[in-house]
Symmetry: C2
């Protein structure tokens, strides 16, 4: 069966389109010299960040890859049933791990470079109208979406095809190698998401504290040494970080479904997740190409239409592939329906997230109104709505799980496989979602460049429209990413129990002390991880504030605009600080699952994973949505409500927004990645540790 | 076996001592006319609050009691094995429910009246020195501790004795009636804790917003119409609320242990929890009487010594009672050691909580330092340390559970019974803990009265010393209460699985969708409950701010101090608002468990309870400790650090403190009660619903 090569085909097509779009974007005009100057500074900063991040990542990989390879080989060598070379598999897993990290890194880096070229061109296109500007921003973002998802699918397809069809390894072993690839991609995701999150807020807070608060110069002012780091940060966090995060979930969902597919007999069940993802990528390519034709009045309408078009095409292709995959009787419905349920849940979760952070809805309006009664009340109000915001998302996840399980069962498909397929279904349109998300920071940057380049009121208004839509896309993507991560880790959870040789029918007893202790420890991880990241932002910003103050003190004529600040040092400081601060929280995510397994056993680790999923999702939603509500409450007041800019209410809202910054851009979004990484650590190491007799 | 009457004896002794202390306290001199005036206003306000709360409670009970009675009777009438009158049991359960609520209410009301008489007398005694003032405050608080715990133990003992020994009902049925008593006590706890929490912060915020912020008059100024409500609030929240909460856990732990005791054979196992609690109460009586002799230098030392003395006496008595209870072979160690483990964990958890909120430790100092860098950073820092603060407490709970389980198992005792006994052990010294806790608001009030009564610098300094110690006691008690609630609900969880006829050995499968959905829904409850309470405080405070403004506008000469404000209207508004706002969150706590059971089944409900325990503890610790850190950071700055009072850092810290107020005094502490109530709802209704075939 060479069907898995469909994944390869769709991946290649996707990357080809990404290249075409990249070339198209870079062909656009970058505008005035002043604009080019700002854009070049951002590009240089982005490159500086990427090169340091990637060097650190290589160091990390150099330690991890041999460990994984040797442990796998050593563990497998004790498996009496294994007929193939344990050392060969060990090498393959280590290589897959490196390839996984490498592919994601290359794709994320290229996507980010596309974004930092698209921003200035979008700004310039704003001078010619919304219909000219929108495609530049959107296609700039689409490079990221198409590139990283295409790369991921090529990797998974090729590895599975090589190991299973070419080397002739058993399906279970082939999937094991794919798992190594997934683990590699998650390594990058952790760096890009958590490290990028620290980076972006370090720069943001330092720029604001010295620039706006101490010296009273406006936002995005080129005299501020931290301003370029701030602009780079938007791209690091929202383009590279979010892309890496979603792809991390994307690959993990496919792998989890493949593991479960092998466990229920393999064959078509093992490759179906790949095939369905390929259909999703074809659909995304179609949807992305169609977005431009949907652009009539508002960019928001076009983006939504693109998502719906992708979904409709996907469901059509899904029908064809499941109906004619050769499943017995009505079994195809047991795959088709759970996959559609997952997709539907993803869209619903994304849209309801929007409610809690939209500038014209109750949560944001109440938070803004509360700001007129003082900072504390505003913070309490935003926080409370953040807590309430979890209701629709969690009910959506529960509904998807319930639907997937029952529908699979009814049509004779293993229910765990059904849940895994619902995760695959939700993430199948990842390329379109990432494209819409990356549109956000590109528009945000474009607005900054338009302001700094003095493009005039009309262009600025268009840039504002794009920026506002970008914020909505970012919020929708965050909700989607959390929902996707939830279903993915639930699928990984089921895959874990299979890999750890836990009898699924007998299961894991919730009322036994190892499981309860595991639950408590797992549940503690996301809040502790969040706290460490938030404190890291504070420390790192503190250091950078010193540097910015130093530059204003030591560089003569800087404040008067006669001299240029040293942007590069600020970018470098933020990068080094972010990567250093990453050490403790990331080590915890890697070590705790292994420790729990060794001390308390595999049932306790199952509890630990379940606990981390529960609170991970709760804290991710709380932080993303309270942060969004505070941010938009500030923007709402800036439209003139409750006294407008400069009023007491505005000051209160600004404080709320600053509290929300590390919530929504550092800690919150990193939690998805953290819980995925914890689950992957369990999958990768536990079977080996069991074989080693630990 | 009339051993259970030991509980009665200890309870009567405890109440006798409470009465003696009450009389002693009220015999002390209340000082100047001005002081008496303030104190009388607080007393009148407290009475007004109590009378309205109790009236609402009666309405609530009038609806609930018949429902519980009829359902029980109806359910039992379908039980073919029941040889006694189902109607009789139904009536008994309903009556026990009413008695449980009644006893707690009477004890809490008396305890609170003792506190509002002790405060002014403490203030007056401050004029004669610390050694005179300390016993007044402490014994004032001890009335609450001894009264409410004594009442609880009398209730449990009498009901068990009457139903089992006098009526001759089987042990399981007798325990069922005791469960009704426990559920009744929890009804009051929910009202006192959540309602009181809304009340106290409504008054606090309204008093501050109009008084300090708008008019610039000092804290505790008698011209402020909300000031008495604020003082009443301290007593409502910390005396009545915390007492009711701890006793709620206390009774629930005993009942859970009795249920499990019956399930493993009954006899001595059924009554041991009662006997051990009686030993704990004897020990507490001793410890409380000894506190005064420990008072040499600092009140903190005396309070700690009292706790240690109680613990030592308790362990001695525990040894005697378990060793000679007639258990076979080494089985007594399987009860003795888990009980000691629970007690030790409680003390350790209380003490480590202290670290995270102490004015001279890193978390608070860092939060204060962050305040010098702006409001947002200060809030983020306190929040982060609040998240980190869960580590020692959760590890402590896990250690207690692990120890209790393993130690029980080793000595041939059912491990679930071991966990229940560790909860009983932890709570056995509840009377001493509540006494120390109630000391807090009494000292706080005394400080306010000393200020308003112009008692001079020396007296004020002594009042300050007491107040500072009171804050520490309150923090320690909060940690203790959360730990106790955690172990108690874990014991209730085990009891639930027994009552719901779930095979403990086979257990509840964590990897099945009803359980996972239950976990998600349960985990969602504490954050949603918190959000509703915090928003309620905001709304209620908004209404009260209007009233305070109205009084300053409409009462001529009020601001000049020539006219008196209308304190009573403010107290009444805060009360009515608090009770009204209680409706939605409390209904959720009562209805959701039943709904989950009916829609998804008993395994899902087990998941739901487990989920609520997990996040309940996490959010309770987060809110209590971040609130404490912000509060003490403000106090630290007021000692002159980072610019002292009036500086920018101070303003930032005040905002942090205001954010923390509903965290630590409304939402956080109510979560203990909420998770206990949810578990009790499951125990009370599920067996009946199962018999009814739902």
């Amino acid at each position: 069966m060479l069907w898995e090569l469909l994944g390869l085909v769709s991946g290649v097509l996707s990357i080809a389109l990404a290249v075409v779009l990249y070339l198209w974007v870079t062909k656009q005009d970058s505008g005035t010299d002043r604009m080019k100057e700002v854009a070049t500074a951002i590009q240089v900063g982005a490159k500086a960040y990427l090169s340091r991040q990637n060097r650190t990542l290589i160091g990390f990989l150099a330690i991890m890859a041999p460990i994984i390879g040797v442990l796998t080989a050593f563990g497998l060598s004790r498996d009496p049933e294994l007929a193939i070379s344990a050392a060969g598999v060990g090498v393959a897993v280590a290589v897959a791990y490196l390839v996984g990290a490498g592919c994601s890194t290359v794709a994320a880096s290229l996507g980010m470079m596309a974004a930092v070229h698209a921003n200035v061109r979008t700004a310039n296109a704003c001078r010619s109208g919304l219909k000219k500007a929108f495609p530049v921003a959107f296609y700039g973002g689409a490079v990221m979406g198409l590139g990283i998802v295409g790369m991921a699918l090529i990797g998974v397809s090729l590895i599975y095809w090589l190991t299973n069809s070419v080397f002739g390894w058993p399906e279970a072993t082939a999937v094991n190698v794919v798992l190594g690839f997934s683990f590699g991609a998650s390594a990058l995701a952790l760096f890009a998401k958590a490290g990028g999150g620290i980076f972006t807020k370090t720069a943001d807070i330092a720029a604001d504290l010295v620039g706006k608060v101490e010296l009273g110069i406006p936002e995005d002012d080129p005299r501020n040494p931290a301003v370029i780091a701030d602009n780079v940060g938007d791209n690091v966090g929202d383009v590279a970080g979010m892309g890496a995060d979603l792809v991390d979930s994307y690959i993990a969902a496919i792998v989890a479904a493949m593991i479960l597919g092998v466990s229920i007999g393999g064959g078509i069940f093992a490759v179906l997740p790949l095939l369905i993802s390929a259909m999703g990528l074809f659909a995304s390519i179609g949807g992305i190409l169609l977005v431009r034709t949907f652009m009539r009045k508002s960019p928001g309408g076009a983006l939504n239409a693109g998502t719906y078009a992708t979904s409709v095409i996907f469901v059509g292709l899904l029908f064809v592939i499941t109906r004619f995959a050769g499943l017995e009787g009505n079994q195809w419905l047991g795959v088709f329906l759970p996959t559609v349920a997952g997709l539907a849940a993803g869209i619903v979760i994304g849209m309801t997230t929007d409610y809690f952070t939209s500038i014209d809805r109750k949560p944001t309006l109440r938070t803004a109104e509360a700001a007129s009664r003082g900072t504390a009340i505003s913070i309490l109000t935003g926080f409370s709505y953040g807590l309430l915001s979890m209701i629709p998302s969690i009910l959506g996840i529960c509904a998807a799980m319930f639907g997937a399980w029952r529908l699979a069962e009814v049509f004779g498909i293993d229910p765990f496989y059904g849940i895994a397929m619902s995760a695959v279904g939700m993430l199948s349109i990842a390329a379109t979602i990432i494209a819409g998300d990356a549109f956000g920071p590109i528009s945000d940057n474009a607005r900054g460049i338009a302001e700094q380049g003095s493009l005039g009121k009309d262009a600025l208004e268009i840039a504002d429209t794009l920026d506002a839509q970008g914020n909505t896309s970012k919020a929708v993507t965050k909700g989607f990413a959390i929902g996707a991560a939830a279903l993915t880790v639930l699928a990984l959870f089921a895959a874990y129990t299979h890999l750890a040789d836990i009898d699924l029918a007998q299961g894991i007893n919730l009322i036994s002390y190892p499981v309860i202790i595991g639950l408590f420890i797992g549940a503690m991880m996301p809040p502790v991880f969040s706290a460490l990241l938030i404190l890291a932002v504070g420390r790192n910003a503190g250091r950078m504030v010193e540097e910015v103050r130093r530059q204003f003190r030591d560089i003569p004529g800087l404040l008067e605009g006669k001299a240029k600040p040293d942007y590069a040092t600020c970018v470098d400081m933020a990068t080094r600080g972010a990567l250093r601060e990453l050490l403790l929280p990331c080590s915890l995510a890697l070590i705790i699952p292994i420790l729990v397994f060794i001390v308390l056993g595999k049932e306790a680790l199952a509890g630990c994973l379940a606990g981390s999923i529960l609170t991970g999702i709760i804290f991710a939603l709380l932080m993303a949505n309270s942060g969004g509500a505070w941010d938009n409450a500030k923007k709402y007041i800036e439209t003139g409500a409750f006294g407008g800019k400069g009023s007491e209410a505005h000051k209160a809202a600004v404080t709320g927004d600053t509290v929300g910054d590390p919530f929504k851009d550092t800690a919150g979004p990193s939690l998805n990645t953290m819980i995925t990484v914890m689950s992957l650590v369990a999958e990768v190491f536990v079977p080996v540790l069991i074989l080693l007799g630990l």
